[in-house]
C-alpha cells in the first residue's frame, strides 16, 4: 500500500510528462480499439453479405453440379428433401439457375437467372429486404424480376421497365419472354451485381421448360447454437446421394478474410504500440535518471532492488491503468457510435469489391469483447516491456555512485 502511495506521488511530480505519456497511451489504445471494431464490422458485413444475402449457411447440389453447372444436373425431389430438413430443425429453400441474354432497348447483357421460391426464400436469406429501389417479387407474380445494381445500369432500366430474356430452354428450344423490373438490389456480390436476375421458381420453370427438380437447396440453421460443422454433417446425412457444402467450404476466400483481417489488426496495433513504447521508455527513463540520487539513498537505507523495480512498475502500471480506462471508455463509445451510424464511404468509392464480395458503402463497426480486450492487453504488455530497462537500471544502482551522480 505504501508502494502505491509513493508511486502516485512520483507520477504527480512531473504531472505534465505523466499527462502526455498517459494521453499518448490512451490515444493509441483508443484508436486501436476503434480500428479493431471497424475491421470486425467489415468482416461481419462481408460475411453477412455472403451468407445471409446469397449463399445460405449450407448448400446441397446434385453431384458434379458445382464443377459443371449444367441445367440438367438437378436435385430430383426438392420438396421431400426440404420437408425432411424442416422437420430436423432447418430452414431450406430451393433454387434454380440458368444463363442467358437480357435486352432492354438497344442494350443487352449476359445474365444469370435465379429462380427462387418467394415463400420459402425469406426463411433462408434476407435478400428480399436488400433493395435499392422498387419491391421484392410477390408470390403470384409470373412476369416480375428483381435485378442486380450494375446490371440495371448496363441495361438502363429501373423499376417498371421491361426486359427481354433470351436463352436456351432445357428441351433445346429458345426460351424467350418479356419481364417487368419490380426492384433493383443493393450490392451483394460482384456476380449478382453484374449479372443477377431473380424471378419466381414457377416463372423460371415455365420459361426454361424445367417442370421438376432444383439445382440447389440453400439451408440455414434455425438453432444458432448448433455448430456449422455439426449442422453440415446433419444436413449431409439427410441429403444422401447429393453434395453438401457449408459456406466456408464454398467461399474459402471469405473464411480466409477473417484471418487476414485479424493479422492486419495485430500488425497495425504492434506498429502503433512501438511508437507508444518509445514514448513510455523515454518518459520512465527520464524519471529514473532525475531521481538517481533518490534511488541511491533508498538503496543505501536498505530498500531491496526488487522493491525499487516494483516501484517503477507500479508507477508505469498506474499510468497504463488510467490510459487503459480512457481508451476502453472512448473506444467503446466511439465503436458503439459507428456501430449505429456507420461511416459513409460512398464519397470515396461508388462501388468496391474485395475477392468478389461487394463492400457495403456504409461501413459499420462492431464492438465485441475480443475487439476491446486485444488492444488493451497489448497496451499493458508493451508498457511492461518498455519499463524493463528503466526498472533494471534503477534497481541495479550502486548507492555511492548514485549519490555522487552529477
Amino acid at each position: 500500500m505504501r508502494l502505491l502511495a509513493i508511486a502516485i506521488r512520483n507520477v504527480g511530480r512531473y504531472w505534465q510528462r505523466s499527462l502526455i505519456t498517459t494521453l499518448a497511451m490512451a490515444f493509441a489504445g483508443f484508436i486501436m480499439i476503434l480500428f479493431a471494431a471497424l475491421m470486425q464490422g467489415m468482416v461481419e458485413t462481408s460475411e453477412h453479405n455472403v451468407v445471409a444475402m446469397n449463399l445460405g449457411e449450407v448448400q446441397i447440389h446434385a453431384r458434379g453440379y458445382r464443377d459443371d453447372p449444367d441445367i440438367y444436373k438437378r436435385i430430383h425431389d426438392p420438396a421431400a428433401l426440404i420437408a425432411r430438413l424442416q422437420k430436423a430443425g432447418f430452414h431450406a429453400a430451393p433454387r434454380l439457375y440458368a444463363f442467358g441474354l437480357a435486352a432492354a432497348g438497344t442494350a443487352s447483357a449476359g445474365v444469370q437467372l435465379h429462380g427462387i421460391d418467394p415463400v420459402l426464400q425469406p426463411t433462408v436469406t434476407e435478400i428480399n429486404r436488400h433493395l435499392l429501389s422498387g419491391q421484392w417479387l410477390s408470390p403470384d407474380d409470373g412476369h416480375g424480376i428483381v435485378i442486380g445494381r450494375k446490371l440495371a445500369r448496363t441495361l438502363g432500366v429501373h423499376p417498371g421497365s421491361e426486359v427481354v430474356f433470351l436463352g436456351q430452354a432445357a428441351d433445346g428450344s429458345i426460351a424467350n419472354d418479356l419481364y417487368r423490373v419490380r426492384g433493383v438490389l443493393k450490392s451483394v456480390s460482384e456476380q449478382i451485381d453484374r449479372a443477377g436476375i431473380y424471378m419466381s421458381a414457377s416463372a423460371f420453370r415455365t420459361l426454361m421448360r424445367l417442370p421438376t427438380g432444383a439445382h440447389e437447396i440453400a439451408v440455414m440453421r434455425a438453432d444458432r447454437s448448433l455448430g456449422l460443422a455439426e449442422a453440415t454433417r446433419k444436413v449431409a446425412a439427410l441429403a444422401r446421394g447429393y453434395e453438401t457444402r457449408n459456406w466456408r467450404q464454398l467461399m474459402p476466400t471469405i473464411a480466409n478474410l477473417i484471418d487476414i483481417m485479424d493479422n492486419q489488426i495485430l500488425i497495425m496495433t504492434l506498429i502503433t504500440y512501438i511508437a507508444v513504447a518509445t514514448i513510455i521508455l523515454n518518459a520512465i527513463l527520464m524519471s529514473v535518471f532525475e531521481r538517481i540520487r533518490e534511488f541511491g539513498i533508498m538503496k543505501a537505507i536498505g530498500v531491496m532492488p526488487w522493491q525499487v523495480a516494483s516501484l517503477i512498475y507500479t508507477e508505469t502500471l498506474l499510468q497504463v491503468s488510467v490510459a487503459g480506462l480512457l481508451a476502453l471508455g472512448g473506444g467503446w463509445l466511439a465503436g458503439n457510435y459507428y456501430e449505429r451510424h456507420g461511416i459513409d464511404l460512398s464519397k470515396l468509392a461508388d462501388s468496391a469489391s474485395f475477392g468478389g464480395i461487394a463492400i457495403d458503402p456504409v461501413w459499420h463497426a462492431h464492438v465485441t469483447p475480443h475487439v476491446l480486450a486485444t488492444p488493451l492487453l497489448m497496451l499493458i504488455g508493451v508498457a511492461a516491456i518498455a519499463a524493463i530497462y528503466p526498472a533494471l537500471k534503477a534497481a541495479m544502482i550502486r548507492p555511492i555512485e548514485a549519490i555522487h551522480y552529477r
Binding site: 499518448a24 449476359g110 445500369r153 480466409n256 464511404l345 461508388d350 468478389g356
Partner: protein, 409 residues
Amino acid sequence: MIRLAWRNLWRNRRRTLITAFSIGFGVLLAVTFTGTGDYAYTNMIDAGASMGYGHVTIEPVGYNRTPTLDKRIGDSAALRADALSQPDVRDAIVRILGQGMFATASNSIGGSFLGVDPASETPAWSLLLRSLVRGNMLRDRDGSGVIIGSKMADHLNLDLGKKLVYTTTDASGEIVSEAARVRGIFHTGINEVDNAFVMLPIDRLRHVLGYRKGEATMVAIMLRDQRRTRRVRDALQHRIGTSVAVLDWRQTQPDLAGIINIDRSSNYISQLLIGLLIAAGILNTLLMSVLERTREFGIMMAVGMSPGQLFRLIMTESFWLACIGLLMGTVITAPWYWYLATYGIDFSGSIGHDYSAGGVLIDPVFHIRLFAESIVAILAGLFTLAILAGLYPAWRAGRIPPVESLKAL
C-alpha cells in the same frame, strides 16, 4: 545559437537518441506504408488498364453510363493517331467491347466480348493475351476464331477447336448470332474474368454488329506512367473536342478507383495517427528538457537573453532533433527498403494466388516502390511534425520569469 542548441541536445544523450529513434521509426513506417501504396496502386492500375480500357479511353459519349452497342466512334484510326501524337502515350489500341450470351449445345453463359485486331494486340497491353495458357492468339482480323476464359471453357464444356455461338444486340438493336471456333484459352485467376470474357476478331465482329469499317467502341490508350493519366486525358479531350468522351481509368473502372481510394485513405489515416504519436514523443522530450533547465533559462534571461531568443533556441533544438531523427530514419530504412524492393515478402500462403480487389488480381508478394514526390512528402511531413511539436515547449521556455526561476529548486 545553432551550436548551443546542438550541445544542449547531447547533454542528455540517451533521451535524444530514443526520441530520434522514434522519428526514425516514423520514417520507416511512412516509407513502408507509402511505398506499398505507390507500388501496389501502380500495379493495380496498370493491370486494370490491360483488362480492356487502357489508362485513358476514347469512347462514344454516354457509353460509360449505359454501354450499348449502338453507340460507336466513327473514325477510330484518326482518333488513334490523335492519341499517339501525345508525348506520354505508349500505345493506342482500337477495340470493340460489348455484352452477350455464349452458348454451346449443352449450356449457355452471359459475358462480355472484346473485338480486337490481332496485329495491334501485345501481351504487355492485354491481360487476356498475357494469360493465354492453351492454344494461340487469333490470326486475322476477319477469322472465325475466338479466345475464351478457362472457367467459361469448363462451364460450356469447350475445348480447342470446338464451336461456340455468341448472341448479342447489333447496332440497330436487333438480336444477332454468330458461330466461332475456340483457338485459345486464357486463365487470369480472376473468376469474373475467366468465366465472362471472350476475344473475337474485330472485322468479323463489325460485320456481325453492322458496323462500318473503322467503327469501334473505343480507343484504349496505354501510358508510360499512370501518374500522367489526368494530364493526357485533358490534353486529348481538348484536342479532339466533345464529339467523343475521353475518360480515365477512374471513370471506366470505378471499382478499382473505389478500392484504391479506400485503401489510400486508410493508409493516410494510419500514417497521421503514427505521426501524432511521434509528435507526442518529441513534445514530451523537449518539454521535459525545458522544465529541467528552468534555472538555466532564468540565468540566461537575467544576463540579457530575450524570450524571443530562448524561443529560437528551443526551436533550433527541435530542428536538430528532427535532423538527427531523419538521418537515423534514412539509415534504418535503407536496408529494409532495399530488401522489400528487391525480394518482397511472400503472402501467398495466407491470401492465395487468386485474390482480387476491385476486379484486379492482387500480387501476393508484398513489394515496395517509392515515387520521388513521396520521399519529399515523407521527409517534409515528419520534419514539419517535429518543428510543430517544438512550438509549445519553446513558448514555455520564453515565458519563464527570471526571478522565480532562480528561486525554483
